[in-house]
């Protein structure tokens, strides 16, 4: 049962005769005291129990759009600009689509650029062709023959936006995309001689390619150095965008808005920092397998940077946002859903999560006992309750959203550190204390990320928890998100506590961060047994075999490594106004191409009051 609105209760009760008499009796009470004590709501106070049990698996309330195009828009309902809530307007470190791991950035890229393949459903691991006309042919375990769609053209922003074409647009000239572009995009990321080599965040994925041969303008043959089971995922992954080499400068970068010219459904219009990201419809988009639908249906979309619950609620209520979700406090969503039963509602998990990284070759964190002590002392239920008011799940080494790969939750919740029963927590905390003392009881210095705001806000409580459980002297500092990532690579912040995007496939979650040969291994893990497991999962083409290897890797990480402590992720309570058709909640960053299916139903009665 939902928590009743305090003010509704107040006004309902305020006029009863008995209440008036009682009020008169107590009328001498001071204003301040009355105001504060009155907030209790008497015995009706529910202490904020959310309507939906946070422990329940998130379930969609309304049937959502089907996996493909959804309901096609009637001709009369085309057009309009969709107003969404998002953080694409957050200025990231770079705009280069091959050089960013910042989720909001590659979400924007995913609307502008295309890939050879794309994920239709990340949760189910459903990969479908994007630029490819069909899934690649595999004559053997090393060879992939990619056949591209004919007639895919690079965008011409000036046609849609007006004005004169930029130098980049002139250089490309709206030409057709070919296999050379795909080859260039993959070679660029794996090029060891690039002046920007250190910036290519997925170099380790494209480094597995031994050779690429352009068979004809629309056919590319790729050969890998060894069998790589997740290679199709690499072609659909967050940074696998195909770019035109004309927009890449001499320093091998394309970190400027004018270079944002791809073949995707939307054209980059503008990004106003911390305000709005604007995209407009690409009239020449190839339209996947159904070009006759002439998508995108909408004229464009705006991603408004609104990141506090009160502002989001206000913007959604006034229809300045067509869809919204909570940031930290889900109560207003619950209340609004009750008030507006026609809303489209969906509870969806989200891949972003909070975690700790240790640098395991630096004292005192080189001591496994210490890392395990911190792992056991951390109360994941407290994190979910405090950061997201109960709307979250415990997180293992792989996100629970990836049900194919994540360690089953029943197993996870039996493991020390993840168990939440009172007796079990006591046992874990006692063990944590013992391990901490065995590690020499060192002082702990934590670096918290500054974004989102609930991460640094949790710092005092986390500090207190470690002090209480371990008896440790704990200090913390709060650093900007981008600084932490840069410093992590330098190894200067050996104990961090931060937010991360989350990834979309088993290999993404484990290989880059824990393989001794990976450039993304910021924890400096070096474990031959783990390396062999990580290599083995890459070589296992059989799903079940790879799944079991994935489980084994996760168990190994939890029992023997603990270089990264994965705490929890949250789920979003989505709402959309009923005129927003083919609405689809986003559980992962980087899927804005789905907005090609969205349309605005102007015949819906609610539409009339839209701002």
């Amino acid at each position: 049962m939902g928590e009743q609105d305090y003010w509704q209760r107040f006004w309902k009760r305020r006029l009863s005769r008995r209440r008036v008499l009682r009020g008169a009796l107590w009328g001498g009470a001071g204003l301040a005291a009355a105001a504060v004590v009155g907030c209790s709501g008497g015995n009706e106070s529910t202490s904020g129990t959310p309507t939906a049990s946070p422990g329940a698996s998130p379930t969609a309330r309304t049937p959502l759009a089907s996996a493909t195009a959804g309901t096609p828009s009637p001709v009369g309902s085309r057009g309009g600009t969709l107003h969404l809530m998002g953080v694409e307007a957050f200025p990231s470190d770079t705009l280069d689509p091959h050089q960013t791991l910042f989720g909001p950035a590659y979400s924007a890229h995913s609307a502008v650029f295309s890939k050879v393949l794309r994920y239709e459903s990340i949760e189910d691991g459903l990969i479908v062709p994007d630029l490819a006309i069909a899934m690649p042919e595999m004559p053997d375990e090393l060879t992939y023959i990619v056949r591209l769609r004919p007639g895919v053209r690079f965008q011409q922003p000036s046609k849609a936006l007006g004005g004169s074409p930029s130098a980049e647009e002139q250089a490309i000239g709206g030409r057709e995309l070919t296999a050379e572009d795909v080859k260039y995009s993959f070679e660029r990321q794996a090029n060891e001689n690039s002046p920007a080599r250190a910036l290519f965040v997925r170099a380790y994925q494209f480094g597995v390619i031994e050779s690429m041969r352009v068979v004809d303008p629309l056919t590319l043959e790729i050969r890998t150095k060894r069998p790589i089971a997740p290679f199709l995922h690499f072609l659909a992954n967050t940074n696998a965008f195909v770019v035109a080499k004309e927009v890449v400068d001499k320093s091998d970068q394309m970190n400027r808005p004018a270079a944002m010219i791809g073949t995707g459904p939307f054209i980059w219009k503008e990004q106003i920092a911390l305000q709005v990201m604007r995209m407009v419809r690409n009239p020449d988009w190839f339209g996947w397998d159904e070009p006759e639908l002439d998508r995108p249906y909408i004229d464009g979309y705006e991603s408004l940077f609104i990141y506090d619950d009160a502002s989001i609620e206000a913007a959604f209520r006034t229809k300045k946002l067509d869809s919204a979700f909570q940031v930290s406090n889900g109560q207003w969503v619950i209340d609004l859903r009750q008030q507006e039963p026609d809303l489209i509602s969906a509870d969806s998990g989200f891949s972003a999560y909070v975690k700790t990284n240790f640098v395991v070759d630096q004292a005192p964190y080189s001591d496994f006992n210490l890392r395990k002590a911190i792992h056991l002392a951390t109360d994941r239920r407290q994190i979910v309750d405090t950061l997201w008011q109960g709307y979250g799940r415990p997180q293992g080494p792989v996100s629970w959203l990836l049900k194919r790969w994540a360690l089953p939750e029943e197993e996870l919740l039996k493991l020390p550190g993840y168990r939440v029963g009172t007796q079990e927590r006591q046992e874990d905390e006692q063990e944590a204390r013992r391990l901490y003392e065995a590690a020499g009881s060192p002082d702990l210095k934590i670096t918290f990320g500054d974004q989102p705001g609930y991460v640094p806000a949790f710092a005092p409580q986390y500090k207190r928890k470690l002090e209480e459980v371990l008896g440790a002297k704990v200090e913390y500092k709060v650093w900007p998100y981008a600084t932490i990532n840069a410093e992590k690579a330098r190894g200067t912040v050996p104990f961090t506590w931060e937010y991360d995007n989350g990834w979309i496939e088993l290999d993404d979650w484990v290989y880059p961060y824990f393989h001794s040969q990976s450039s993304a291994n910021v924890s400096h893990v070096s474990d031959p047994q783990l390396d062999s497991l990580l290599d083995a999962q890459r070589a296992a083409f059989d799903f079940e075999e790879r799944q079991q290897l994935g489980y084994e890797i996760q168990r190994y990480l939890l029992e023997n490594v603990l270089a990264q402590l994965d705490y929890a992720s949250y789920y979003m309570l989505w709402m959309a106004w009923p005129y927003y058709k083919n609405f689809r909640p986003a559980s992962f960053f980087g899927n804005s191409f789905h907005l090609a299916n969205a349309w605005l139903d102007r015949s819906n009665p609610v539409w009339g009051s839209r701002a």
Binding site: E3, Q4, D5, Y6, W7, A32, A35, V36, V37, C39, S40, G41, S45, S47, G48, T49, S53, P54, G55, D308, D309, A310, S328, N329, Q331, W332, D335, R381, Q382, V384, D385, T386, Q389, G390, R393, P394, E409, E410, L413, K414, V420, G421, T422, R425, G453, P456, A457, F458, A459, P460, Q461, K463, R464, V478
Partner: protein, 318 residues
């Protein structure tokens, strides 16, 4: 004449009577102050209560500001992520939690009391900074006048030309966030207006006959400023102190509200921001923090007004 003096309550000296009769006792003085300035007395009362809360926070707060309380979990299911006890978040006021709990299951009353220590501490630090430097600049500027005065005043004008919040945001961005830097930043913003008030008082005081006399007998400029002028601008300093404290508490709350101030110790502004999200379902956190800010700022302003009247002989005799 005699009658007039008696009516005025000034008394008449008779033979053997001391020239300086002892004044009224402090209790009588307090009583007179309360009668004449009831609002000021209320303000001072609020200030005293807040100061007591700040000074005795460890004893008055009942709980630690970060202590997390638990309550029975109705959704308890063994083997799942639903434990026997859950965070007692956003509980209403009760005997255990006088002002309820916040979204982190922490006691609002305890956080308010610890917040008083932070708010008053930051405000005191900021005002000491502003008064120390503002008084120095104001006295030097008002005493010497001329080109030095002009340079100093234009410098102060340029500080005041920037919106205070902009300067604070810049300072927060450029410096390591701590209570000391926060205090100094707030003090810096208050500096210009403090020195302006002191300077205007100095301009009057430097023309007083006793200052002229001291100058005539050869007192040095530093001695004139420190011994003869400074005591005469003490009253405006006290008033600036009491009224400025309220503004600085508000500025600290605003920065904390925006998430730009240090996280610990708890701040009323931060509580207000955190409670805002639950205004409809459980407003006690927001109301408690809002009332604390309002009462404290009001208290300091009322006390400042009353002190100004009380310390100014021209107003006092009216």
């Amino acid at each position: 004449m005699l009658m007039g003096q008696e009516e005025a309550g000034l008394g008449v000296l008779t033979a053997g009577q001391e020239l300086y009769a002892p004044g009224p006792g402090w209790l009588r003085l307090v009583g007179r102050f309360i009668r004449r300035k009831p609002l000021g007395a209320f303000g001072i009362g609020v200030v005293l209560v807040m100061s007591l809360a700040a000074g005795a926070a460890p004893w008055l707060s009942r709980y630690d500001a970060e202590e997390r309380f638990l309550t029975a979990n109705p959704a308890y299911a063994p083997g799942t992520f639903e434990p026997e006890q859950k965070q007692d978040a956003r509980a209403g006021p009760s005997l255990k939690h006088w002002f309820g709990t916040d979204q982190g299951g922490r006691d609002n009353y305890a956080r308010l009391v610890w917040g008083a220590r932070r708010s008053l501490g930051v405000a005191l630090g900021a005002l000491l900074f502003a008064i120390l430097f503002g008084t120095s600049i104001g006295i030097v500027s008002g005493y010497y006048r001329g080109w030095l005065d002009m340079i100093l005043q234009r410098l102060m004008d340029s500080i005041q030309a920037f919106p205070a919040m902009l300067i604070l945001l810049l300072l927060v961005a450029l410096t390591k966030s701590s209570l000391v830097t926060l205090s100094m930043g707030l003090g810096f913003v208050a500096l210009a207006s403090v020195q302006r008030i002191i300077r205007s008082a100095v301009l009057t005081a430097r023309e007083e006959p006793h200052v002229e006399a001291a100058r005539a007998i050869g007192c040095s400029a530093p001695r004139l400023m420190c011994v003869h002028i400074l005591p005469n601008v003490a009253a405006p300093i006290i008033v600036v102190f009491s009224i400025g404290l309220g503004s600085i508490i508000l500025a600290d709350a605003a920065l904390a509200f925006l998430g730009l101030a240090p996280i610990e110790p708890p701040s009323w502004g931060m509580m207000l921001n955190e409670g805002r999200g639950y205004m409809n379902s459980q407003p006690s956190t927001m109301l408690a923090a809002g009332l604390a800010i309002t009462l404290t700022v009001l208290g300091f302003n009322l006390a400042g007004d009353a002190l100004r009247d009380f310390l100014d002989p021209r107003i006092r005799l009216q």
